[in-house]
């Protein structure tokens, strides 16, 4: 039991997937079943272990960092291997291990072209290490390394297994395959943000007694060590690094491309976990360490979020491509998350936390469904789809359910994040410009209406109506057992979180309140 609490357990959750990925690369290519089985088992072990940690976690002191450890890593620059989880990171960590299991279950029978399960599954596992690591890292350098580790696997996942349609991109002479364009765009955008983020980390390091430890920097930051133009600049670069990842308008343009081009599992992981790395960075690093700057920047973040919400919804209405529509809906939903964070109130940040988890579950499921449909119909053009309920009843029903969850139907997971974020924006932290936030709130409220609008419109075009003639003689197969076993848990989770939001709040609330009271007093 001690092994679980002194950091070894957490380290295993982080590095076990990496070791498994390495072992997978050693298995001969011909042994496909063995590779798949091994990947599944190792992701399951990771998930079970993270669930065990869930029970080890002391919820009565969820505001404290637990189950962690700190050992020396790079002595000469005083960077340590410091890990630990509190109520804020716990749900995201479990979500990450959980979604990975589902992604691997789905991949067992539905590998994108070119097959080659070895590389694909190994990349998923490496990706998992990066995601889990980011959520447990308590040292800026460790955080940075994990934050970047996710880039390589995702780059290759999009680039090798992605969409091969040829398209014209403005600025390029020749036509280019979607996957190639999207993968490098994703990579460059994110690296651009994080290169500057690293400079910001170094700035904190030098002003903050040469430490990279997040808890120590929080102590320093709340006691007013970082002020003036220096702090403004540091917050600006941290903002850049995290906002690209979230992504916030106007830095979002990589997202629709990456989502559209990525293979199904890639989109799922991207939407469900990778985007959360950015918003998690705000909650874990930017706000607690630089509270005064966060306060100064909050109105700007709120405005950008509001624009993101409206823009995302309007862009959705203009889409003909099913996957692209869901991608833009992500921009809108992450706008709500950021609006909640910008309010800097317990209710707003709790909303952001539940919004992140809910978005991970719901949008993950949406991408699963749309990917599977694209695989069945060989098109994502909503003009050609239609009558899905008649052709693929199971998939259609699930799509209907998930769209309802996504538009924020009360009783399902999506509701809490949106509703509470608006509540938070109505009544932001004292001292913030109320007009700006209330305007943003109104914009957000309009956004919810638009969200409902485009999702229902999407359902009407895809699910309802009569199937077009081109599908009559085609052999269309409905969801199989692998797909259903990947999807049903997400449906259950959506309902559970919708009915008992305390599943998330129970963990996050204390931590959020403690963080905010430390940062802004009382």
């Amino acid at each position: 039991m001690e092994l679980l609490t002194n950091g070894v357990g957490l380290s295993v959750v982080v590095f076990f997937p990496l070791i498994s990925a390495f072992i997978i690369t050693l298995i001969p290519k011909a042994q496909e079943q063995l590779i798949k089985g091994f990947a599944l088992v190792s992701s399951l072990i990771t998930f079970v272990l993270s669930a065990v940690l869930l029970f080890q976690f002391d919820f009565s002191s969820a505001d404290k960092l637990q189950l962690g450890n700190k050992i020396s890593w790079i002595k000469s620059i005083n960077a340590n291997y410091e890990i630990g989880i509190d109520g804020i990171s716990l749900p995201l960590l479990v979500l990450s291990t959980f979604i990975t299991v589902l992604a691997i279950i789905y991949s067992i029978e539905h590998l994108p072209e070119p097959k080659s399960p070895k590389g694909f599954l190994a990349l998923i596992l490496v990706l998992e290490t990066g995601m889990n690591g980011t959520f447990v890292a308590l040292d800026l350098i460790l955080f940075f390394v994990f934050f970047e580790i996710v880039l390589l696997p995702m780059y290759f996942m999009i680039g090798i297994w992605g969409d091969k349609t040829v398209r014209t991109v403005s600025g390029f002479k020749n036509q280019i395959e979607t996957r190639l364009y999207a993968s490098i765009k994703f990579f460059v955008f994110t690296l651009f943000g994080s290169a500057f983020m690293l400079l910001g980390f170094l700035g904190l390091y030098y002003r903050g007694n040469k430490t990279f430890s997040i808890p120590e920097l929080i102590e320093l930051g709340t006691s007013g060590a970082f002020t003036g133009t220096f702090a403004t600049l540091v917050f600006a670069v941290l903002f850049l690094g995290f906002a690209v990842k979230v992504p916030m308008w106007p830095l979002h343009t990589w997202l629709p491309d990456a989502h559209t081009a990525a293979p199904t599992v890639g989109s799922v992981l991207l939407a469900a976990i990778l985007l959360k790395l950015g918003s998690y960075g705000f909650v874990r690093i930017a706000i607690p360490i630089l509270p005064e700057q966060a306060k100064a920047w909050a109105p700007a973040i709120a405005i950008l979020s509001a624009i993101g919400i409206i823009y995302g919804s309007l862009a959705c209405l203009a889409q003909t491509d099913l996957k692209r529509l869901i991608a833009f809906s992500s921009v809108g939903h992450m706008g709500f998350v950021m609006l909640g964070i910008a309010s800097l109130t317990p209710i707003g940040i709790n909303a952001a936390m539940i919004g992140m988890v809910a978005h991970g579950v719901i949008t993950g499921l949406l991408f699963f469904l749309s990917g599977s449909m694209a695989h069945t119909y060989h098109t994502r053009d909503m003009g050609r789809l239609g009558g899905n309920m008649k052709l693929l009843p199971k998939t259609g029903a699930l799509l209907g359910f998930t769209a309802m969850a996504s538009l924020g139907l009360p009783g399902l997971a999506g509701f809490w994040g949106e509703f509470m974020a608006l509540l938070g924006a109505y009544n932001p932290l004292d001292g913030l410009n109320i007009t700006v936030f209330r305007t943003s709130m109104v914009a957000g409220a309009i956004g919810t209406v638009l969200t409902a609008g485009y999702l229902l419109w999407m359902l009407q075009r895809v699910n309802l109506g009569e199937p077009s003639d081109e599908w009559i003689d085609k052999d269309l197969h409905d969801a199989d057992i692998y797909e259903l076993s990947a999807w049903i848990p997400l449906v259950v989770l959506t309902v559970l979180i919708g009915v008992f939001p305390k599943l998330i709040f129970g963990a996050t609330n204390d931590a959020v309140i403690a963080m905010l009271s430390k940062a802004f007093g009382g």
């Binding site: 000469s76 350098i141 780059y155 996957r179 490098i184 990579f187 690293l198 170094l202 030098y206």
Partner: protein, 467 residues
Amino acid sequence: MILPRKSKYYVAAFALLGTLFSLAPLVIQWANYTSPIYAFENSFVVDKFSIILKGLFILITYLTFLLSINFIESDKYYQGEYYYLLLSSLLGALIVSSSRDLLTIFIGIELASTPMFLLSGWKKGDRKSNEGAIKFFLLGVLSASLILYGFSLLYGLSGKLVFSEISSHLLSASLANSPVVLLSAILVISGIGFKISVVPFHSWAPDTYEGAPLPVTAYLSVSSKATGFVALIILLTKVFAGSGSSWGIILVIISGLTMTLGNLVALQQNNPVRLLAYSSISQAGFILAPIAISGITGDYQDGIFASVTYLIIYAFMNLGAFLSVHLFSNYAGSTNFYEWGGVARKSPLAGVLTTVFFFSLAGIPPLGGWFAKFVVFRSLLGSANSIGIALGVVGAINAVIALVYYARISKVIWMDEPKSINEEKIFQFENPLKVVGVFTVLITFVSGIFPGIFSYLGEVSSIFFGN
């Protein structure tokens, strides 16, 4: 050379063994190290800085030999001389890292670079090789004469050749910022600038790299460059330490230009060797940056720490990158990497190695390159100086630009459709090359995941400034 042609194989084996054995005294010196040992009237020194760099030079040469074995045997090259010349160059590099007077360091630099003029023209019938060699030779000799003119001015001012005596004389006579010393510093910097190929002294590098045999190119871009940097570090911190604020500014400008120009030109290359040439120009800008800033702030120890750490990590990943270029261009029979579509599928091992090396050069964690870039940024921002921070921002932007062309090779070999893959053709990956690949890839990973080891080496070697 005296062996008959048949037994030329033994030359390689002997060279390999010899290089390996020469590591032994280093290990012993390291183990018994107490304080720097001076010899020959203070003109030769054994300290940790020199031990670490000697170790690096010997390892690089060893790996270059491994790279060369098949390459040299495959063609009608002269074998005995090849190894002899490389070993001479190694000797020069070793002398440089220990030298503490003008004469010794000059002989070291010349001994390190002169054999390389010959080696770069080793492909006698190949016009490109000829051309590369003549450009390299002319600029190399020019740079040597510039350095010499700078040295002669120093000698004229102080009447001394030993560094410690020169610098104490300059200090006592408060000549550190006199125009003559500055002229001498500028001449030395531009002379060594040719060796380390920084803008505007870089123009020979891509041509020579393209023309030279690939192992020689690898050696040039790693060991010769490192020799130049070691000479520069020693000269700037031991002789010109007092006039740091003046040469600091010059180096900052050179460093910023080098990063940017190298990157921008690299973006347009389709020949992988030229791409690596420009990439190594741009990397030289990064290695130079901490030294430049340390001149302005006077915190030489921190600058040396960052540069040496960068140099060590860079050496291995760059060697690895040349190895992968060698493998694929051999297989595809083309020096245009856009024609390498999908070749990684023929040999996933080589594909993975290539990906690792190139992304490490781009500085993506968890590969070693990120830590190299990180220590540079750390030292730049640590200066708390607006010039340092500006250079840091330039570096950050360049790191992103560089990613585009580094990622391009991985993109081509993994993601592009195979155009002309001949199913019959066997992918050649000889055992000595595998050793190089595995060794460099291990170092690349270890330096990324446990950078403590490498930063320790850098830290220890930076102490040399104090003594």
